[in-house]
């Protein structure tokens, strides 16, 4: 186990060392809300961060695993490609944004726009998610054990949104859908991977009504008025 104390080591030195490593375990102490901690990892390393991190922690993450024992600020695991990112606390806005693959686990709450434009990542949130979560989500699974804020899944394409609690409101073109056996199986696997104890049948699935996919000439008046059908 290699320990980096951010009171003594610069962010650039830390990230360079993590990029140079090909395997092994690393611990980061005293992050004090610094930005871009452990971003750009691309190997099978395991990194534990003790304390709160700032923006873009574990951004562009591939392979390997990052665990934050604390809270994270905006853009946690933004554009994650593969591997695992887990935080024991809460994340502010845009957690898992644009992620293509891998697993993001937030044990606390996630703020606004969690999973915005997600493209294949799986995100599991132990608490609640904020407004405009999964905005324009394209692929992947979002699992929320708590409640969802306003405009869930606005303009989404093909992601599955599984919410156990209440939903303040659904965004444009997002609708409740049937929870079929294959979804229950997906949920069971994701909950197990995230280490969350919940009954898959307690969740409601939301997805795209697919009415915004194509331009319809009948909608031209609404389009010109700035609305959507």
């Amino acid at each position: 186990m290699t320990v980096f104390d951010m009171a003594e080591v610069s962010l650039r030195e830390l990230n360079q060392a993590l990029h140079d490593a090909t395997d092994g375990e690393f611990e980061v102490v005293n992050p004090r809300g610094a930005h871009a901690v452990a971003s750009g990892i691309d190997s099978e390393i395991s990194v534990t961060i003790d304390g709160p991190v700032g923006y873009y922690c574990a951004g562009m993450h591939q392979r390997g695993s990052v665990q934050v024992n604390g809270n994270a600020s905006a853009g946690l695991a933004e554009n994650i490609m593969s591997g695992t990112v887990r935080i024991t606390g809460s994340a502010t806005m845009s957690a898992g944004a644009t992620g293509h693959g891998g697993l993001v686990v937030i044990e606390g709450n996630a703020g606004a726009r969690c999973g915005i434009s997600m493209k294949g990542v799986d995100i599991v949130v132990g608490g609640n998610v904020g407004h405009m979560t999964a905005f324009m989500a394209q692929s992947g699974n979002l699992v929320v054990l708590g409640d969802a804020g306003a405009d869930l899944g606005d303009s989404l394409y093909e992601a599955n949104l599984f919410i156990r609690g209440s939903v303040e409101s659904l965004g444009a073109d997002c609708v409740e859908k049937e929870l079929r056996p294959e979804h229950i199986e997906t949920l069971r696997q994701l909950l197990a991977a995230a280490g969350m104890d919940a009954d898959p049948t307690d969740f409601t699935r939301y997805g795209s009504a697919r009415t915004l996919y194509n331009f319809h000439i009948d909608d031209i008046d609404a389009e010109l008025a700035g609305g959507a059908s």
């Binding site: 930005h35 600020s73 606004a112 407004h131």
Partner: protein
């Protein structure tokens, strides 16, 4: 970009070091705006007096004749604390009358703040140097708000720096940009508000000032602001006995709040909060969009 910080001390424990804690928070937000900075500190002054902070931008005048003339005008003693281009006049007289007298009789001087508790300093330049020049670190008190500015909507001047005053003991810092400030400025001018800059945040301050003068509580004024202000904003607002936070309904501009038994802190980024005492015990959360958060002291010295 811009960075904002607010620190509200619920108990006596850290009040002697309010300024030092606020300066450390401001330092962490330097990278969000190096154009200018400012801070407002509450609860430092002598009980039973009012204070008026004034600015003569680009000058370092002899403030003593102004203090003497103000004393004559008010018929009450006026103590003077000059600080370069700023000065604080402390008096047992009425701070509103003092403010108007200075506006009417002292050309080239702007009134930055007036009230029983507030003192306000701002300047162009590196936030650390601004904090050092106006001695933020040595100040005590109950609460403070501060701002680092990356200018977008108007020129880099001291008067265009935050905080902006919104009335007695009330001021505002803003991260964001308002899109209807020109129209709103015209409307507010018709209601009797006057503006010193082309700055959008000053319009937000003027708006709250107008609502408060019309008799709104701070909560009512902010509720109305949600309807009438168009644009992006995270506001931190200092009031005589507390502070308030409001984000627009989309909430693109960042904000984080941390609260312990002793203090409430708010900032654009957590790293400004990370070194506060007992931060590990704090409840940390992101303020929700379009929700008004307020904290107030139970008893304020009269």
């Amino acid at each position: 970009m811009c960075g904002i910080v607010g620190l509200f001390l619920k108990t006596d424990r850290h009040r002697p070091k309010l300024g030092r804690l606020t300066a450390a928070m401001l330092h962490e937000m330097r990278s969000r705006g190096l154009d200018s900075a400012g801070f407002a500190v509450y609860g430092e002054g002598t009980i039973g007096t009012s204070r008026i902070t004034v600015l003569a931008e680009g000058q370092e005048p002899d403030w003593a004749p102004t203090a003497a003339a103000l004393e004559t005008a008010l018929g009450e003693p006026v103590a003077l604390r000059p600080m370069f281009d700023h000065a604080v006049f402390e008096t047992t007289g009425d701070s509103g009358l003092a403010r108007q007298w200075i506006i009417d009789h002292v050309p080239g001087v702007s009134v930055l703040s007036h009230g029983r508790q507030i003192e306000l300093f701002k300047s162009v330049g590196d936030p650390d140097l601004v904090a050092e020049k106006y001695d933020l670190a040595s100040r005590s008190g109950t609460h403070a708000i501060a701002h680092t500015r990356m200018a977008t909507e108007s020129a880099i001047t001291t008067n265009g720096s935050h905080p902006f005053v919104t009335g007695p003991d009330t001021c505002l810092v803003h991260n964001g940009s308002l899109s209807n400030h020109n129209q709103l400025r015209e409307q507010l001018e018709q209601h009797g508000e006057s503006f010193q800059t082309e700055n959008d945040s000053e319009v937000a301050a003027g708006y709250l000032s107008w609502r408060l003068r019309e008799g709104d509580t701070i909560d009512q004024a902010l509720e109305a602001a949600l309807c009438d202000l168009d644009g992006f904003y995270t506001f931190a607002i200092g009031i005589e006995n507390g502070f308030a936070i409001l984000r627009d309904p989309i909430a693109c501009k960042p904000a984080v709040i941390a609260e312990t038994d002793d203090w409430v802190a708010m900032s654009s980024e957590f790293r400004a909060i990370a070194q506060l005492p007992n931060v590990d015990d704090a409840e940390v959360f992101e303020p929700e969009p379009a929700r008004i958060y307020t904290w107030s002291l139970e008893a304020v010295p009269a």
